[in-house]
Amino acid sequence: MSVLANLKARFSRERVKLQLDDIQALILRSRPEPYVGLHAMLHVDEAEGGRDLVRRLAPHIPAADDWTDDMDAWTGVAISHAGLKALGVPEASLKSFPLPFQQGMAARAEQLRDFGENAPDRWEDAFRPGTCHIAVTIYARDEAALEKAIEVAMTELEASHGVTLVGTHSFGADADAKNPFGFRDSISQPTVAGGGVDPRGDERAIAAGEFILGENSETGAPVAMPEPAPLGRNGSFVVLRKYQSAVGAFNDFIRANADSEADQEKLAAKMFGRWRSGAPLILAPDRDDEALGADRSRNNDFNFAEDPKGLVCPHSAHMRRLNPRDSQLTILTDVNIHRIIRRSSTFGPKWTPDVTAADDAKDDRGIFFIFISARAYDTIEFLQQEWINRGNFIDLGTERDPIVALHEEPGTFTIPQEQARRRVNGVTTFNRLMGGEYLFMPSLTALRWIGEAGWR
């Protein structure tokens, strides 16, 4: 059963507690597989022209009601702090945003541990501070639907003035939805309480305020929200980070540290926490299980309680680090306030085993790591500091995430074993940061408020 059909069957309008007709569809709507899409980045040169474009785009941004129904294409809009400023949003509102969002991602390099090869001074030009003002993303079920949606957006852009199109980026996923390393991605998605779909199995719904501004969060109260209410309410925050994937270096690392092809696949799975198909190690300890990986009702239905030593799925595996579920951690942690709605997209050629480090320079492969959360800026800084670029929380000292961490010096990956744990050395930065930004995803009310200069 596909994920969409599954959600649709479980959706019940009576259980909806959110103002779905005011929330951008992109926040809740799952993408079909396969899907195609386009990211566009805009720069506002002149406030009135920018607002005119936002006003024109607003009617083309669908709301989240009927978010489990099929749709041919949908467009989402997010705006950076510099973008809000360029659009003329009043100072009082600009200052009501949380500090990290006001500062922007580049200025938060210290908190994000974006040093060395990941430092902002080495980012792509499009991500230089103050460049990215408005991000428009279109998802579609096929090329024809995407073309149509792009045409609608482009028509509005051409009719507007004072806005520059900085760049566009096409992406897509086939039915396997695999990342640049050849692993199925974006599997684990939280269930948003009040969205109309109940969680499955052991999972519990996450308080809506973790994703939608103005709703109660896991603390029982809403998280920080910009003012006035028409601007903040029903919005959310987006983290965008573009990574260049060193797929060849990763392939070489696997080959250098495991002999047979089966052992190489196993080492790679230990690093990700899942096999290529998406089958989690916890449910498939010895070998990949294609049917399990493709089955949305089973491929995320597990936890770590029965693997306290990490003998099946290492504590340091990427997937276990980024969502430890019920794992015993060394530090007091509420895993439910670090959940994210994943909207990452992959670009570049499909993975093959014969790619080597020599190919990395000429191939453009990577991932737009994108996620949505009402505290996205806090979440990414927490993830970068604690779960990605450290090992203290799992008793591993300074060991880092083997897939997405920055490794200024070659790092170690620990694989627990009965006799004595194995440490694999020589982990390098397999995903290099090319740029990123903190974005605000306004409600439909807020888009109109901005477009019509509602503060006047």
Partner: protein, 232 residues
């Protein structure tokens, strides 16, 4: 009106205000305090983690092996500026302090427009035991730091202990995460971890291992392979 309280603001309270304040304080704190007290009663404490609240000797408190010293003193004119220059030079990393090998931390805080200093430290052992050793082993550092304090008699003065004790204030509340662990212990643990890691690296791939060693290794691995929350 209470007699054991020195907060002058409380003297201005009317009797009724006082009653209301006390009722509110108790009501607000009660559930949380009761929970802490209950937890403390029913919990079986690991002796490795046991702390205490006894005296560290002449002044300050002691918990397990660790003691606290908090002192407030008046600075000589320009003293804050001179100390800042010293701290900037060493970037907070004081070699002399490292050599002492009993200091967990030290902090120097200027307040009242740089006229006064708060000095706070956590250290291993008792108050008197090492003051004499500091006087002979790191006299320059001690004098460099404290010569900027009004009335400092000099580390080699027979009056130095009285001077420190006179400026010291016992902590009312103090918490030590690892009361049984000394600075020296931590360094040994770090050396042990490096050595242990090298050993485990060698044994992870050792296929020709005898049964006794294999069992011992298994026990060792078992003891360290589960992440555990820090218990106090």
């Amino acid at each position: 009106m209470t007699t054991d309280n020195k907060d002058p603001r409380l003297a201005d309270e009317s009797k009724l205000q006082e009653i209301w304040r006390r009722v509110e304080e108790v009501a607000a704190d009660a559930p949380h305090l009761a929970k802490i007290a209950l937890e403390a009663m029913i919990r079986k404490h690991n002796p490795d983690l046991k702390g205490s609240a006894r005296s560290a000797g002449r002044a300050g408190k002691q918990s397990g092996n660790v003691s606290e010293l908090t002192a407030i003193a008046t600075l000589k004119p320009g003293g804050a500026e001179r100390l800042r220059r010293i701290f900037d030079l060493t970037a907070g990393n004081m070699d002399g302090a490292q050599r002492v090998s009993t200091l967990h931390d030290m902090r120097f805080v200027f307040f009242d427009d740089d006229t006064r200093i708060l000095f706070a430290t956590a250290y291993d052992g008792d108050w008197d035991a090492y003051i004499n050793d500091f006087a002979t082993k790191i006299p320059e550092l001690m004098d460099l730091l404290f010569a900027n304090v009004e009335g400092w008699p000099g580390i080699d003065s027979p009056k130095v202990k009285d001077f420190i004790a006179d400026h010291q204030i016992d902590a009312a509340g103090w918490f030590v995460a690892n009361p049984q662990v000394t600075v020296v212990d931590v360094r040994r643990f770090q050396r042990m971890e490096k050595a242990l890691n090298a050993f485990l690296d060698a044994e992870a791939a050792n296929m020709g291992i005898d049964p006794t060693t294999k069992a011992a290794l298994g026990q060792l691995t078992d003891a360290i392979s589960k992440p555990e929350g820090v218990d106090y």
